[in-house]
């Protein structure tokens, strides 16, 4: 009897209907937590993917490398300036070598290593059909000693050994020309790793004094290694 009454009243009671409605509402409220959580998760993931840390780090490295390129250009520019400002009554070869040694020390303080090999040739008052001395200096700043240094100009050969790091080797060649001519100086040097050859053109101009510089420059840092070869001919006064 009681069960029958229960069965009847379950469906007929308006209060119980409202109760079920409330249950549905509270269930929806519970699911709202999950929906909010999903939205928050999506926001977190979107934020993380939009913040591409690898790209940001790469951009910073690029900017830092850009500054190092400017510093390398600064050294290049000052080498050329030195040739220009010392071409009047000064020893250009010694001045350029002093500048290179100075630059190496200054850049070392900023964790950069300036390296290179520099071949500086000069002649004074070239006269037609007269023996003229060409002075050639090779400054080794490669970071290691040169076991052999061979030079050839106008069939004249010099073979040197053991040129230490931060030291210069000096030799003289003789040329004799009736008119303006281009001579070829070949320089071969051997490092612990390899043997390298450089060919430098020496323009001989009658009645002139000249400085002919060849610079192989290298600037190393944690981020970047830059190389350059510069050739510069300047009239000496």
């Amino acid at each position: 009897m009681v069960n029958m009454i229960r069965a009847i009243t379950k469906d007929s009671s308006p209060n119980l209907g409202m109760e079920r409605k409330g249950m549905v509402q509270s269930r929806s409220k519970g699911q709202a937590f999950l929906i909010i959580a999903i939205v928050v998760v999506l926001v977190l993931v979107t934020l993380k993917t939009s913040l591409n840390l690898v790209n940001i780090v790469e951009n910073k490295r690029y900017l830092e490398a850009g500054l190092e390129r400017l510093e390398f250009n600064n050294v290049r520019h000052e080498i050329l300036t030195t040739i220009q400002i010392t071409s009047v009554h000064r020893n250009t070869t010694n001045s350029v070598n002093d500048l290179l040694a100075f630059s190496k020390a200054a850049l070392a303080a900023r964790s950069m290593d300036l390296k290179g090999i520099f071949v500086e040739s000069s002649y004074t008052g070239l006269q037609a059909s007269t023996d003229t001395r060409i002075n050639v200096t090779v400054f080794n700043m490669l970071g290691y000693d040169l076991s052999a240094l061979n030079m050839e100009l106008n069939s004249e050969v010099w073979n040197l050994t053991d040129i230490r790091h931060m030291h210069a080797a000096n030799v003289n060649f003789t040329i004799n020309t009736a008119s303006d001519a281009n001579y070829t100086l070949t320089v071969q040097y051997t490092t612990p790793q390899k043997t390298e050859n450089e060919t430098i053109t020496i323009p001989a101009k009658i009645g002139r004094s000249r400085f002919i510089g060849f610079f192989y420059l290298q600037l190393e840092s944690d981020r970047l290694t830059q190389y350059d070869k510069i050739e510069k001919v300047a009239d000496l006064v």
Binding site: V41, I79, A106
Partner: protein, 147 residues
């Protein structure tokens, strides 16, 4: 009879409400717990490892500083002032070329330079090499400290 049904209704209603109330509470708590766990695990997964976002202020100051020195050198002013060791004049000339929100000091030196005596965590420096000028070959470096 009617009274009996009424009482019985009340009884059923009360016991069902209690039961549903408990169930409802448990379910809500469980769902909230899942939601918290979801957010926490995603947060820890993506943001757990302390990856430091690099700052660009320092490198931007350096680039601006170097460009300012280069610009001053293009007119030969820097070269001449550096040879005279006139840092005050270099600083004055740099003023329109530097960002307004930074402090800076210039030191002219050889291979070893003095400490500027600035205590700032944001201190950066950039150096510019100079060979000298037509009247004097004397390599120097102009160091610009920015903070």
């Amino acid at each position: 009879m009617h009274e009996l049904v009424k009482n019985e209704n009340k009884e059923i209603k009360m016991s069902e409400t209690k039961k549903h109330g408990m169930k409802k509470g448990l379910l809500k708590s469980f769902e909230a717990l899942i939601a918290i766990l979801m957010i926490m695990s995603v947060f820890l997964m993506f943001y757990g490892s302390a990856e430091e976002v690099p700052e660009f202020k320092g490198i931007n100051w350096k680039l601006r500083g170097f460009a300012a020195l280069e610009s001053l050198d293009s007119t030969n002013e820097l070269r001449n002032l550096a040879l005279r060791n006139d840092t005050a004049e270099i600083e004055k000339k740099l003023q329109p070329l530097m960002p307004g929100d930074v402090d800076y000091v210039v030191i002219v030196c050889g291979t070893t330079c003095d400490n500027p005596g600035v205590t700032s965590e944001e201190l950066v420096s950039v150096s510019y090499l100079l060979a000298g000028n037509v009247s004097m070959f004397q390599p120097k470096q102009v160091v610009l400290y920015i903070w």
